[in-house]
């Protein structure tokens, strides 16, 4: 069966520090991969999605970037965190014509 791993579960980082959140999927090949941010009152905002290695589509121009160095690995990064980057980040995967499956999420607090 397919599983998705996302870490860390919680992270506290100072403003201006770098960020790297990792997500890996097991049990499937060539999935579509997604990063969402969940914020109170703003729902789930799609940040990036990828349909293959090295292919990244950005939905919201901002301080973050994403990379897909391997088929089942999706990384969310920032060179310098802002206070506004605080939030709950969710990784998800899907195969075509199937629903998204979400990871447990990472709670990021930028201080």
């Amino acid at each position: 069966s397919q599983t998705i791993h996302q870490w860390p579960a919680t992270l506290v980082q100072p403003v201006g520090s770098p960020l790297s959140l990792e997500c890996t999927v097991e049990g499937t090949s060539n999935p579509n991969l997604y990063w969402y941010r969940q914020a109170a009152g703003r729902g789930l905002q799609l940040l990036f999605y990828s349909v293959g290695i090295g292919q990244i589509s950005s939905e919201v121009p901002q301080n973050l970037s994403a990379s897909r160095p391997q088929d089942r690995q999706f990384i969310l990064s920032s060179k310098k965190l802002l206070l506004s980057d605080s939030g709950f980040y969710l990784c998800a995967w899907a195969i075509p014509n199937s629903p998204l499956h979400f990871g447990n999420g990472t709670r990021l607090t930028v201080t």
Binding site: Y36, G43, L46, Y49, V51, A94, P99, L100, H101, N104
Partner: protein, 109 residues
């Protein structure tokens, strides 16, 4: 552009009462609609999708293309139904799943 609107941020009902969580969408093509649920301290998970036409945990949702709606309904709410509910629209070839802002349902004893 695709858009999902959930007009109610909060919804509170008593146990045994009917519940309806509203969802309206905007999409030029033929959409696929979903409801996701997030219980306290659990991951976001799929509740149901319109093409399945099934009832999950007593919940149903009917796609009304004329009214561009996909409201979630349950005739008798239970306390364990308390959760955050998100309506989502799949645009198909653009690979994107667009979510509404969510409705927090509280079922009181």
């Amino acid at each position: 552009a695709q858009r999902v609107t959930q007009p109610e941020k909060l919804l509170s009902v008593f146990k045994g009462a009917p519940v309806e969580l509203k969802c309206n969408y905007s999409y030029s093509g033929s959409p696929e609609l979903f409801w996701y649920v997030q219980y306290s301290r659990q991951r976001l998970q799929l509740l149901l999708r319109h093409i399945s036409r099934e009832s999950i945990k007593g919940f149903t949702a009917d796609l009304n293309k004329g009214e561009t709606s996909f409201h979630l309904k349950k005739p008798f709410a239970q306390e364990e139904d308390s959760a955050m509910y998100y309506c989502a629209l799949w645009g198909g070839s653009n690979y994107k799943l667009t979510f509404g802002k969510g409705t927090l349902l509280t079922v009181n004893p």
